[in-house]
Amino acid sequence: MRLKTTLIAAAAATAFSVGAHGATLDDVKAKGFIQCGVSTGLAGFAFTDSDGNWDGFDVVFCRATAAAVFGDPNAIKFTPTTGKTRFTALASGEIDLLYRNTTWTLSRDVDLKFSFLGVNYYDGQGFMIRKDMGVSSASELDGATVCIQTGTTTELNLADFFRANNMNYEPVPIETNAEAQQKYLANACDVYTTDASGLAATRATFEDPENHVILPEIISKEPLGPLVRHGDNAWGDIVRWVLNALIIAEEKGITAANVDSMASADTKDPEIKRLLGVEGNYGEMLGLSADWAVNAIKTGGNYGEIFEKHIGENTAIGLARGLNALWTEGGILYAPPFR
């Protein structure tokens, strides 16, 4: 009896017949939504409410991409992925785009056959520890029990860091952030290590965040960004330029509130005109409508607005802009020129 259902599905599958390889843009347009891979749950970056609606920093970037392609930020479906499942989900074509605090590394770019399309958050790996342990520097962690999320670069950085400093440690590999948090709070590990943004996000959910410190050492560079499959150039270009458009929008002071008036009013700045599709045919070049950037910006505002709303200093997570400030403001956020 089961066989029949299987066959139905086979038939249905041929109907969808999503080419997992290449031409993702056509597939996305054909099916009418983007399948975006996000974290299973990391406060501020990607989380669900009890109705199963997704929100968060990474999620808004996904939605902005959908808005650019379809003019509708809800033309999107989310697939929660763990550190472990994310790459296979992307490689197998289960998702079209991965926005999940994923570090850009050579081997992922080259050996795992993905294309990274920019950086939406510059991060670094840090350590969190209880205040009453009296530790003020990562170099005092000799012999500590360290909780790490497996399947991430943090696992490798950690091994490197302790070896380079000639220290011992006891790794406790853990699958998800929620489990790591539980172990850390139960004191089954002394230290929790992951990207500093993740640590801040996790700490924000504690009952007593003031009793935990994030150590000053950042032991790695973790440029986190979106990625697609290798060879998906047309699709990759869209994802890259949606991200860039949001950064340029911040540079130019375009916000969710004023984007419509900026697009209709006669602004002097030619780059704004180009970005908002008043001048030139940049949307067409990407295979999108002229107002793609307007739609993307309307979704959640420019980069700065998204940052402030979800992970900025006024949220429970309370991250400073730091490296993620615009290059004009002392950060390294720098989008290529829009022309």
Partner: protein, 438 residues
Amino acid sequence: MAGEKSVAFVAEQQIPPSPPPVRTGGALGWARDNLFSGVFNSVATLLSLAFVAYILAMVVPWLFIDSVWNASSLQGCREVDDGACLAVINERFLQFVFGFYPEELRWRPILAFVLLFVAIWPALFSSAPRKLLIFSALYPLLAYWLIWGGSLWGPVGAVVGIAIGWACIRFLPPLLARGRLDEGLAFLAAVGAGILGAALWWLFCVIAFEEALSTVLAISLEPVESARLGGFLLSTIIGVSGIAGSLPIGIVLALGRQSNLILIKGVCVGFIEFIRGVPLITLLFVAWLLLSYFLPPGTEFDLILRVVIMVTAFASAYMAEVIRGGLAGLPRGQYEAADSLGLDYWKSMRLIVLPQALKISIPGIVNTFIGLFKDTTLVIIIGLLDPVGLLQPIRADQNWNGIVWELYGFIALFFFIFCFAMSRYSMYLERNLDVGHR
């Protein structure tokens, strides 16, 4: 006898019965006999009682007296009382049952679940009307349509494909045999044509059929994507479809293993031993990572469907062993009787051997089902949100951060109720069926 003086050694009146000795009678006697019959036994009894009392003293106040049913967060619970924070179950109960299935559509899986019992009714009770078997055969497609939604014509198209194949096998042989073809070859050709016809239909015509009919008469349910399926709904889907699929495949494998065709036997033994030799987890890895490699480029299967396929394969191997036990448990005479009646292999299997063998393996089949149902929890390893998987998002929620025992207890209780009921049912069957063949 009356009036005559009896002899000395004959009792003249009945001696009144004396009460039983304290040692054996009454509750005390029972206790002494069963609980305190020796030093070791007394110690064991006391220890056991102490253990039970300890557990009850720990659990009962926590679960029943100090528990909190209404609060919106763990902190809220703690403010009211320090017992179990059952408010989380209260709040997330529907999520545990349906996952993220859209709220207004939840009647569909419920209906599918109710219909499931209608579908298995004729399989369990011979008193059910035979016509229902047609419904049972169509049920998987109906359930698929109800749960996933979409156009009704998709499942109907699949049925048409099966009908085409069946029609070829049923009606072509006489037509072909009327020509110059040999009867046997005609049959073979018909089977081939049936398979080919169905395959062609599925590959090329179904979609056109579906679209055409949809424009004429659009009957469709709002589609629900697989990512929204979760909780016990997901466990039930995987468990039930795994068992439904594994039964026929298991029968074929068991027959194959008994076959004296060396090649067939070898293939079946190889398959069964391979599947039984590796953990289910590795098979789930295959479903998740590798299965799509072995399908034509561009084919995309839903992850749940891939998991169902691998779980079915897994359960089939175990089912085959259960049914092999049933086949072996049948007295040799039954096989010989079937042969002596001149029945061919399939007829003797269908009419004589399998009905009896299946009957005696029903308890084993139920046990396999219980095992499979419990094993559905493993899908969390590949990221599906079954009840255990739902623990993650709940615990990541700021409100319920740090909640542990309530959730484990709730899930464990659910599985216990279901599996315990099933195992009682299987014992009942075992007792009822334990009549023949001895």
